[in-house]
């Protein structure tokens, strides 16, 4: 098997090169075939790898390719690690990536061929970087992928580069990610100086010898990296803006895969996190705060993609809560199910936007149920899944996170339930505003409403099926003993941590069942409220209340950052520009030039043309030299 593991990332890279270099030569069909074909091939390879990893008696293996950095005592190899965790992520990324590639080939058909090819080249490059991130056997290789996905995210957010707002959104995403990347980089340096290695297999056994302070600092710095990539407070504001990119990009990068890189990284280094209780508390609190904040903002957004973006931020927050309370399997489980239903929701939203001729305002939709039947059904499944209705995928993963939170601290549980209820409310608000009631758009739009072509509905159907059955890989022990297939599968990588969380309060099965029942009941009530309020929504001129304005303006966080960070930095920059640069530096440079000019103007007077004066100067100089030599010697 290890002979072809390298092909999994290399195939998308080849696709990137072909599409990127041949974008002016290739035809549209060829671009689609290369873009999707390379990825489907690597999906099939990933399936083989996964089958091997799932087989009993599998040992995680590290495949060395070459020495990447070799200097003094520092030895970093370019190597891939194949184990249960990475093979699971391989499947998620290549699988959902393939579906979204197929979807894109239809969604992006309005673009001219060179731009169409550019799009697929970026998308393939993204998949390549993401696979590097997943497969890397040490933090340096992970960092290469980490930077690569950040770059591709920037390129794809700014894909329509003629719109300046989109460029600003891309820059914002890039800069925010850089802040996080700095933390990651510092953590890598710290690990190198402390342990002398960044390879997972060599590093993790050594961790127990390090002091609590060191571990806490390293894990916190790593978490700063995760904050940037996975859009947590305070670095989350880039993700809603990232919706400027094409919708399939939002589905792939900003919902299903790239933003979960932070969760992957923390799950990967779970050994370190389990030893740093303070970091775990920080992660839990930040995750919880992000989940709540984003959920409240999502309640009042009117842009279909913005709602989904804040919902993503909120769900990522829940995943971090899971990681923070030590339930790594639950976090990874939610990554997986979230990838299914959030990709589905985004692609469904893309289908709606496609039908509406690039209209994204919810207040101008409505009644799309009869025009877009397939999109409607699949979108409903996605909404049910994210709301946590059994037996859809979201129910199982979210319930596992909430149970883990309850075992740690009931407050986390209550806040998690509040987040889930808000999730159900805003998602059904979105659903009812889009598909129920009467159509509120223009007549022109009404005439052109149509179901999307099969290349777009096929991925929707596949993802909807996955959203239905995806949860059954993690059936909690309440329903059936030992049925949590995912937990059993991931046990070799993530299993060691369960014993260390000592404060666990084990719930009896009846309590657990009761809590589930209450939660589902509450969610159904929220859905009922949402249907009462939005099922036959008509825009009204009613003045909005202060709170809803506050939420609609996203808690004014962007304005706060503008006033607290961007403005002061701007002032400092203009001070440096006006005073330090123009006065000090320019003054120094111009002063040198001026003094040279001045002295030259004075010295040229010596050249009088009078031979006599030259000779006089010569004689005087000689005499002076003699005198000098005379005194020098004695």
């Amino acid at each position: 098997m290890n002979k072809f593991v390298f092909l999994i990332p290399v195939l998308p890279l080849v696709g990137f090169l072909i599409n990127g270099l041949g974008r002016n030569i290739l035809s549209r069909a060829l671009v689609s075939i290369v873009g999707c074909g390379t990825l489907i091939a690597s999906f099939l390879l990933s399936l083989l790898v996964f089958r091997e990893a799932a087989a009993p008696g599998f040992v995680p293996m590290v495949i060395n390719y070459f020495d990447f950095i070799h200097a003094g005592g520092l030895d970093i190899k370019f190597s891939f690690q194949v184990d249960q965790l990475s093979s699971l992520f391989l499947l998620i990324i290549t699988g959902i990536g393939s579906l979204i590639h197929i979807y894109s080939s239809s969604y992006m058909h309005e673009e001219t061929v060179p731009h169409f090819a550019r799009y697929f080249a970026y998308l393939n490059l993204f998949i390549f970087s993401m696979l590097m991130l997943i497969l890397g056997a040490n933090f340096v290789i992970m960092f290469i992928g980490w930077e690569g996905v950040g770059l591709c995210s920037y390129l794809l957010i700014g894909y329509w580069f003629k719109n300046n707002d989109y460029n600003n959104a891309a820059k914002k995403a890039f800069v925010m990610n850089r802040i996080g990347d700095l933390g990651f980089l510092l953590a890598i340096f710290w690990m190198l100086s402390q342990f002398g290695t960044v390879s997972y297999l060599e590093l993790f056994p050594q961790v127990s010898s390090a002091s609590l302070y060191t571990i806490t600092c390293i894990t916190l710095l790593l978490f700063v990296g995760a904050m940037g990539k996975s859009a947590q407070i305070p670095l989350y504001t880039w993700l809603p803006d990232a919706m400027a990119g094409p919708t399939p990009v939002s589905a792939l990068i900003h919902a299903a895969t790239m933003v979960t890189a932070g969760i992957y990284m923390i799950a990967r280094s779970n050994v370190m996190y389990s030893m740093a209780p303070h970091t775990q508390d920080v992660i839990t609190i930040i995750g919880m705060a992000t989940a709540l904040l984003a959920a409240t903002i999502a309640l009042k957004q009117n842009d279909i993609k913005k709602v989904l973006a804040y919902s993503t931020v909120s769900q990522l927050g829940l995943m971090f809560v899971a990681l923070g309370v030590g339930a790594y399997t639950a976090g990874v489980f939610h990554v997986m199910t979230h990838a299914f239903f959030k990709a589905l929701l985004f692609l469904g939203a893309g289908s709606v936007i496609h039908a509406m001729h690039h209209e994204q305002d919810l207040t101008k939709m409505g009644g799309l149920r009869k025009y877009l039947p397939i999109t409607h059904i699949t979108f409903l499944i996605g909404t049910l899944a994210i709301s946590g209705i059994p037996p859809f995928a979201g129910f199982f993963s979210k319930d596992e996170i909430l149970t883990a939170a309850l075992q740690k601290n009931p407050i986390y549980y209550v806040l998690g339930v509040v987040t889930s209820l808000m999730t159900a409310f805003y998602m059904f608000r979105l659903y009812f505003l889009t598909f129920s009631g009467t159509f509120r758009g223009t007549d022109h739009q009404a005439k052109h409403l149509h179901e999307s072509p099969v290349a777009m509905t096929m991925p929707l159907i596949v993802l909807a099926l996955l959203s239905i059955v995806g949860g059954f890989v993690g059936v909690p022990s309440v329903f059936a003993e030992n049925a949590h297939l995912l937990s059993n599968f991931l046990n070799p990588v993530l299993g060691s941590v369960h014993s260390t969380s000592h404060e666990v309060v084990h719930l009896s099965h009846s309590t657990e069942l009761m809590l589930m029942g209450v939660l589902v009941f509450l969610i159904l009530i929220m859905i009922f409220f949402a249907s009462r309020k939005f099922a036959s929504y008509q825009p009204s001129e009613k003045e909005e209340s202060t709170i809803s304005k506050f939420l609609a303006n996203k808690w004014y966080v962007d304005e706060l950052y503008e006033a607290l960070i961007i403005k002061p930095i701007g002032h400092v920059a203009s001070f440096f520009n006006k005073v330090v640069d123009t006065k000090v530096i320019d003054g120094f440079v111009n002063g040198v030039g001026k003094s040279v000019q001045y002295s030259a103007r004075q010295l040229r007077l010596l050249q009088s043309g009078q031979v006599g004066s030259y000779v006089l100067i010569m004689v005087i100089s000689l005499i002076l030299l003699f005198i000098f030599q005379f005194f020098w010697k004695h």
């Binding site: 009088s608 043309g609 031979v611 006599g612 000779v615 004689v619």
Partner: protein, 111 residues
């Protein structure tokens, strides 16, 4: 005669040459002063040569120490003669061009 006398004579000749070069404007006079400086050096060479030879001769009658400088003086005279021909030619050309041998008129290189 003590060697000091020769040295004083040489210094006097050399100083006269320098002062002449510095103060006079006539190219021919300046030329003569340069010759004077050369000859001041010749005087010194001959004097030191003689002094050395006498000292060495007292120890060994067949010695040739100190005779080389006497030859050098002839070389200097030959070179000086060659220089005079070139220099005088320049001065003649100078006179033909500017109808004067005053060096203060020779300031065209300034421009």
């Amino acid at each position: 005669m003590p060697i000091n006398y020769y040295i004083f004579l040489s210094i006097a000749l050399f100083t006269i040459g320098i002062v002449g070069v510095l103060t006079r404007r006539n190219a021919i006079i300046i030329f003569m002063c340069i010759e004077l400086m050369l000859n001041a050096v010749n005087v010194l060479l001959v004097a030191f040569s003689k002094m050395h030879h006498v000292a060495a001769y007292a120890l060994d009658a067949s010695t040739t120490v100190g005779t080389e400088a006497q030859l050098f003086v002839f070389f200097i005279m030959v070179v000086a003669a060659a220089e005079v021909t070139v220099g005088l030619a320049i001065i003649v050309m100078l006179y033909r061009n500017i109808h004067s041998v005053d060096i203060n008129f020779l300031n065209r290189l300034k421009h």
